[in-house]
């Protein structure tokens, strides 16, 4: 095959060569340039002009959304097109649409993580951000739909008017728990993943505001290997929790429809079918956002054409699952022999809403077939346009499911035809405004690419740096070795103060691991290694004990599970029993969704809080921040710190130990004078 022959010289990384893995990052990048490029997006004084144009449009739409909300509440729900029989219309369609969009972010951050799809590191941060913004858009709609958005606490499980508890057997309440848990866990996952990168921004900050803002947000992260160890475990646990969670969220959303007996809604395939559709639309949205973003912010080396091609393949796969569900539903509608089922499906395809049905089929099933062609999958314009079709198609899928089933239900005398008003349409556009505004702000102020994760999937042979830099580093090392004495003399100028500890700087993980072995063998206990990303093999060298985080999470999960069960049992079966749809007061199947959601919620909070508490974070100040060069730990350098509190600590002996390693720079950090206590953002960086 031609492709294989030219691979060696070609720069097209979408070519497949089974004998090697394609690089995940293009260009001549090393850890330094990854930090520079990604932080550079946030640090540049002004975003590109396209950003201003996009933000002007999206914030205008977002504002119009708020104004229209005022109009809606002022005049009443009649400004919408809701009517009988279509009492659920745009608000629920938009809710389901936006929740679905969010799913791609969790798929990328959690499921692809569990499946070791390392290419996800380039896109997971932006996709997770998109998840959070999409869920925010989704949550607005049921809030409005309640009619009194200033009383959202009516959704919470407490006995409101007349001591009545919410009905835990209602799928609408399951939604509250499912989407609420989803939002919380996604936020925790996103924020936790961002902490090391926020620390990078903190260490590079040049203005006071940035130092304080990123300094607080980074929680005093200092790249400690003991921290990384628990961080990685927490990441794995959160991924393992988010995976069933993301399946559950759209499943629960599908229950809103499928537990009823309305033809076209009551179908057992709804849960997996909704999940597949959610991921399908979510990936289309990720591509829609990232194609311009990688262009505007110069991130093409991290979000490569191969990333886009992979996303196209996932869109094709999930689109096929959606097509499968359409087909099976149609077949079973016929096979069931149920006249009303048969009518509903024929009515969708041929009835008054046939136009919407065929838009859905064309956009979701026919159009994505173009992704079979590699030429299409590697053409960013084509991808962007086809993904726009998918977004439209998936919005119409919700329209078709919701409106057609309600408009023509069991009673022909109550049939109607729903037409949206201008307010419906403008509020839909407005929700896009909110979504895009939030995303653009994210691009401007937060690291769009997970730097620490990208660094951990790059080749890091010692001396991986470019040739010139290698040369320069060699010089530094030599100079450092020669001038060690004088440097110590210089830092000794702190006269009379006690040392906080010693710090040795390394330029490669291999040097660091060797040095860590030496320090451990020397018998030190109060010491640590600091790295820009988790370095594997270091844990063994340092003899780090396995974390107990898993047990904390298990305890959290058990508490969540039992509180879910007890809450539902006590409220609906004991405190205020109400008969609903002929179900027993305590009906276990109906309690499973909320029990599951609370189990995941408590476990995830336990993982998040447990990780930071075990790490002793947040701790905004630490003696290592006083060191002169330590800020590079969040970019491209590796450090070993020995605390003066260590029983074996002896200034001369410990210094000699560190000097015998392959370090490029050694430093004594002195305790600060009483008056000059400073935070991580304002250490004495020169």
């Amino acid at each position: 095959m031609r492709g294989l022959a030219v691979l060696g010289t070609s720069s097209d990384i979408t070519l497949d060569d089974p004998t090697r893995r394609a690089p995940l990052v293009l260009g001549e990048h090393d850890t330094t340039s990854v930090t520079d490029t990604v932080c550079g997006v946030v640090e540049r004084p002004k975003p590109p002009r396209a950003w201003y144009v996009a933000f002007a449009i999206s914030s205008t739409l977002a504002t119009s959304f708020l104004v229209l909300q005022g109009y809606l509440f002022g005049v009443g729900v009649g400004v919408w097109g809701l009517q009988n029989p279509v009492g659920w219309a745009f608000d629920i369609i938009n809710f389901v649409f936006w929740v679905g969009i969010g799913h791609a972010g969790t798929l990328i951050s959690a499921i692809l993580f569990l499946f070791r799809q390392k290419w996800r590191t380039g896109i997971n941060r932006a996709a997770e951000a998109m998840t959070i913004f999409a869920v925010i858009c989704a949550l607005i709609y049921p809030g409005i739909h309640l009619g009194r958005w200033w009383m959202p606490f009516y959704l919470l499980p407490y006995p409101n008017a007349m001591q009545v508890w919410p009905n835990f057997r209602s799928p609408l309440l399951w939604d509250v728990f499912a989407v609420g848990t989803y939002f919380t866990v996604s936020l925790l996952f996103w924020y936790m993943g961002m902490v090391p990168d926020l620390a990078s921004l903190r260490d590079r900050a040049t203005t006071k505001v940035r130092k304080i803002a990123y300094g607080i947000a980074a929680l005093g992260w200092r790249g400690s290997h003991r921290h990384w160890h628990r961080y990685e475990r927490a990441y794995l646990i959160l991924a393992a929790l988010a995976t069933p969670l993301v399946l559950s969220v759209h499943s629960v959303v599908s229950f809103d429809f499928a537990v009823s007996i309305l033809p076209g809604w009551h179908s057992t395939i709804f849960p997996p079918y909704f999940v597949a559709g959610a991921i399908f639309s979510g990936f289309a949205m990720v591509a829609t956002l990232l194609i311009p973003a990688r262009e505007w912010f110069g991130l093409k080396d991290f979000i490569t054409l191969r990333h886009l091609e992979n996303m196209c393949k996932i869109i094709l796969a999930t689109g096929s699952m959606v097509g499968y569900a359409y087909g099976v539903e149609f077949f079973i509608a016929w096979y069931s022999g149920n006249a009303i089922e048969q009518f509903t499906f024929l009515n969708r395809a041929l009835g008054p809403y046939a136009w919407a049905y065929w838009i859905m089929v064309v956009c979701n099933v026919v159009v994505p077939q173009a992704f079979w062609l590699k030429r299409v999958r590697t053409n960013v314009w084509m991808i962007w346009i086809l993904c726009a079709f998918v977004n439209v198609g998936m919005w119409f899928e919700r329209f078709v499911i919701i409106v057609t089933s309600l408009a023509n239900d069991f009673l022909p005398s109550s049939w109607g035809y729903f037409t949206p008003t201008w307010v419906d349409l403008c509020m839909l556009a407005g929700s896009f405004g909110i979504f895009l505004s939030l995303f653009l702000l994210f691009c401007r102020f937060l690291p769009m690419v997970a730097m620490a994760e990208v660094k951990s999937v790059m080749p890091h042979a010692p001396g991986y740096h470019g040739a010139d830099e290698e040369h320069a580093l060699g010089d530094v090392r030599k100079a450092a070795g020669e001038s060690q004495e004088s440097e110590i003399e210089r830092t000794n100028a702190g006269n009379g103060r006690a040392p906080s500890g010693l710090l040795a700087e390394f330029e490669s993980p291999a040097d660091l691991i060797r040095a860590a072995e030496q320090v451990r063998q020397a018998g030190y206990r109060h010491w640590d290694a600091h790295t820009p990303y988790p370095v594997h093999g270091l844990g063994r060298a340092m003899a780090v004990k396995d974390t107990a985080l898993g047990w904390i999470v298990l305890a959290g999960g058990i508490v969540g599970c039992f509180s879910g069960l007890v809450l539902q049992w006590w409220t609906n079966a004991v405190d205020y029993p109400v008969v609903i749809s002929g179900k027993p007061f305590w009906s276990l199947p109906a309690n499973i969704p909320i029990t599951f959601e609370l189990t995941v919620l408590f476990s995830a909070i336990a993982a998040f809080v447990g990780m930071f508490v075990l790490n002793g974070l947040p701790k905004l100040h630490h003696w290592v921040f006083e060191a002169e060069h330590f800020q590079r730990v969040t970019s491209d350098r590796y450090f070993i710190s020995i605390e003066s509190s260590d029983p074996k600590f002896d200034l001369a002996e410990s210094r000699a130990l560190l000097a015998s390693t392959n370090s490029v720079r050694n430093e004594i950090v002195w305790e600060p004078e009483e008056s000059s206590v400073s935070g991580p953002g304002s250490g004495n960086h020169s």
Partner: protein
């Protein structure tokens, strides 16, 4: 843990040879043939035998289909870690030709198993008359010829190309298999869905559930991963693939078993919950038959045995990395898959099993007979070449692979 150090690893079965020379084959044929003859000439009638036969057939068919799925998904995702396991899956999927042969008795006994195949029943049943365009014996046979044509050719295609790569080492073959895997997966999804409708769902020809194809798929997949663990552990015990399949691979097979246990539970719960909540008589009857009398215990047993127990047991990393424990967990999952299929197949109106579990010697006999036949067939396919895709371009990656978490 892992394989004992210093032991030689063997990667090829001796001989292989014709499946007809295998004693297991002949014992299996004798068991099934003897059972069938006893049923036909005995006074109980052949229906009870056919029920057991259908159970055993479905069990082994689902395992072979699970193997085919694993081959397809490995290529589709350009999987590296699974290369050392893929040949075993190819060989297990290659037993599908045997399933095609063993399907014949089901066709012969079709009116004993399926009410829609009995003209006297259909004549008085308006619902079945409505479905007759799909549920009729001729179309049923045509469909199954199509399913087996698809499955056997997919299994043969991937097995043949992979075998060819052992000789030539050509990486282009990997690309060809990757390209074929995508349309292959589509064909697989459609065929396994309709096969499950035909084989299992239409046992109760009035009942319908759109998720049923996914349910059957989830059971097939989880039991295949369990089977893979059992097969690998057994082969290593008798001296094969001791080094090329490491504890890391077993750990991953354990993880996949665990994941699909959860997936099965998710699909099973979705189906149950929606039917329970909707409470329409045309749907709930199916579950009602499985909740009356002794069947209550089978249903609860499925909940505990097919979900809670393996979920808690296989959650631990420790368990998945210990040979004995993994073998126990995997065997348990396989047994629960038998229970799942038993629970689907047996409680039917036409089998007159209201409220009692009709355990019968035929169940054991048929499962044992099928097991022997499939072992003989698998041994033959495994004997054709090395148990490892020797020159797969990603073999080195698979051997070096280590779990991080």
């Amino acid at each position: 843990m892992g394989a004992p150090e210093g032991l030689e690893e063997r990667r090829a079965l001796d001989g292989g040879g014709s499946v007809l020379s295998s004693p297991a084959m002949w014992v299996g044929v004798t068991l099934l043939g003897g059972g069938g003859a006893a049923a036909i000439f005995g006074n109980g009638g052949s229906q009870r035998f056919l029920q057991s036969y259908l159970l055993a057939f479905t069990f082994f068919l689902s395992l072979a289909l699970g193997a085919l799925f694993f081959v397809l998904i490995s290529h589709l995702t350009r999987s590296g870690w699974s290369v050392t396991l893929r040949r075993l899956a190819e060989d297990l999927a290659s037993t599908l030709w045997l399933a095609a042969l063993l399907f014949v008795p089901i066709v012969l006994g079709i009116d004993e198993l399926y009410e829609w195949a009995r003209e006297d029943v259909v004549a008085h049943d308006a619902v079945l008359q409505g479905k007759a365009a799909y549920l009729n014996t001729n179309f049923f046979i045509i469909r199954w010829i199509f399913y087996f044509a698809v499955w056997v050719s997919l299994a043969e295609y991937f097995s043949r190309l992979s075998g060819k790569q052992d000789e030539t080492g050509d990486p282009e073959l990997t690309l060809r298999m990757e390209r074929a895997s995508a349309p292959g997966m589509l064909l697989f999804a459609v065929t396994i869905t309709f096969a499950s409708f035909d084989l299992l769902m239409s046992l109760d020809a009035h009942w319908f559930s759109t998720i049923f194809g996914v349910y059957f798929f989830s059971g097939s997949t989880v039991s295949f991963f369990a089977l893979l663990a059992v097969v690998v552990l057994f082969m290593q015990r008798i001296g094969f693939v001791r080094h090329s399949v490491t504890v890391e691979h077993l750990h991953d097979v354990g993880k996949l078993t665990f994941a699909f246990v959860v997936f099965w539970a998710y699909i099973a719960f979705s189906q149950y919950m929606l039917i329970w909540y909707g409470n329409l008589p045309e749907e709930t009857g199916w579950y009602e038959r499985r909740q009356e009398g002794d069947w209550t215990w089978a249903s609860l047993g499925l909940l505990a045995g097919h979900f809670l127990i393996p979920f808690l047991f296989l959650m631990s990393r420790h368990v998945k990395r210990r040979r004995g424990m993994l073998a126990a967990g995997a065997t348990w999952v396989l047994l629960m898959h038998v229970l799942d299929l038993y629970w689907i197949i047996m409680p039917q109106k036409q089998f007159d099993t209201a409220g009692r579990i009709p355990l019968h010697g035929f169940d054991v006999l048929c499962l044992a007979g099928f097991a022997l036949l499939f072992i003989a067939a698998a041994k033959q396919t495994m004997g054709r070449r090395s148990l490892i895709p020797e020159r797969d371009p990603r073999l080195a990656e698979a051997m070096a692979f280590e779990n991080e978490g």
